[in-house]
Symmetry: C2
Subunit: 252 residues, 2 copies
DNA sequence: TGGATATTATTTGTATCCAGTTTGGATATC
DNA sequence: GATATCCAAACTGGATACAAATAATATCCA
């Protein structure tokens, strides 16, 4: 079960619980980007009253995961005009954060990072994209905790959540041929290990460099997915479609 | 009247109005950092019911201006352990943002920036610290709009709000001797003009450099204020306090 | 007199209710 | 048949009523 949620249950208030549930559904794409949130339905399903549901929605709007669209509330969606901004900010924050992590990590941080890294590598065996991206997110969160200042950590977490959604969105709409076992996944794991090594060694420059590389790698995967290029495009077999007269051979 | 608030009234909903009012009171230090928010009192004064007041509080908690302290809600306060983080993040975001602004500014941005710059300089004549810091904030917001991506702008705005509060807090608790007309103020205005020039010229490197200088200047003013050093500390006249026996001369 | 427990009061979280507004559908008229 | 108008239903924002939890005070016993 996914749990990217901050308040990992132990939820005291109903409002917190509902908040976590809706958030999870948004991040897991169960609530599709752009779809409207039906408050009444959530009230019905959850069994609580409108008040805690409304609080949850208010918070999610404030965080940017939901947004008010005139009268109704929608799940925030992505458009291409945001892509540049997102990657730009991710690059900036990621590099700075990893540099700081290398300079400030404590032994406890290293332990937590290593554990998260191994969880990711374990997940990389099984072909579950959702769990994998979640493990990846959690690894980067551990790193962020290791060194980022509280402020930077918060910003980086916001960006990371954003990219998690973006990644899943691209996975759904885009090309999803054989990610598990792919070259990209191998490179990702290598990056993680390099990041860990640099941070463990306290090498800020190296951490910065690898973080940069890692962000580029991520960006290229997404763009490739979006553009539908599954590696070598030349391997396509263009075959005559049945039921077309010979003269109907289309250009392209 | 201060108006650092985003939704500059025209607020349709009661909740929005209350949100803006509370936010303003927090930023203006009318609601002191650390003090508890009395929901009932706000309900009484505003004349609306608990529902919109609660919505406002929920949003402000989500933004970090308020925070839940067990049962009650307090105005977020500063402690010295945050200072490093704040300046670190401010430096990072400020430099990046100004660089982007130089690379992407449109004519409309330049107009707005120039107007805000002149408002600041006009305020610099009158000795009103609150209005001055607000004009300063608004200038930097215009710059941020000029070039920062939507994401970066949001982060920078958050930091800027944070530093605005920090600045006012330091002004209240710290040394406040003759800021208006001071060397620091002159340097601030010069920085603003240099920033504008660099951005107008599209010189990203220069914008970055000046932004860095400006952030250092700001940081040094705050630390000086906090440490209570009003310029040359040697000018203190140490005089015998009346009503103390000669042997009672305290160490420091 | 001091400490502990019980009771009360205040505050916060939740539920329900009400009013205003908007949307969808149905009917009537052109 | 199409369009316009009106009515109804549903939803949102806001108000209030209710319940639960915590804090404060008072009383009783040692």
């Amino acid at each position: 079960m996914g749990n990217v949620t901050r308040n990992s249950d132990a939820g005291q208030r109903n409002a917190d619980r509902i908040y976590g549930e809706i958030r999870e559904k948004i991040l897991s794409m169960e609530f599709a980007p752009g779809s409207v949130i039906d408050e009444a339905a959530i009230v019905q399903k959850s069994g609580v009253s409108r008040t805690p549901v409304r609080e949850a929605i208010i918070r999610l709007v404030s965080e940017g995961l939901l947004l008010r669209d005139g009268r109704q509330v929608r799940v925030a969606s992505f458009d291409i005009s945001q892509l540049r901004d997102v990657f730009e900010s991710l690059m900036l924050l990621s590099r700075s954060m990893h540099r700081l992590a290398a300079l400030r990590r404590q032994p406890a941080h290293l332990t937590a990072m290593w554990r998260a890294l191994q969880v990711f590598e374990a997940e990389a065996e099984a072909p579950d994209e959702v769990r994998l991206s979640e493990a990846n997110h959690l690894f980067h969160m551990e790193v962020s905790k290791a060194g980022a200042s509280s402020v930077l950590h918060r910003f980086y977490e916001t960006m990371s959540i954003e990219t998690l959604r973006l990644s899943r969105q691209c996975f759904i709409v885009g090309d999803r041929t054989g990610y598990v076992g792919s070259e990209h996944l191998k490179q990702t794991m290598q990056d993680h290990r390099d990041l860990f090594a640099a941070i463990e060694a306290g090498d800020g420059d190296e951490a910065d460099r690898v973080a940069q590389r890692h962000t580029v790698l991520f960006r290229e995967r997404l763009t490739r997915q979006l553009l539908g290029m599954s590696g070598d495009i030349d391997s396509f077999r263009l075959q005559e479609e049945p039921g077309l007269e010979p003269s109907g051979r289309r250009s392209r």
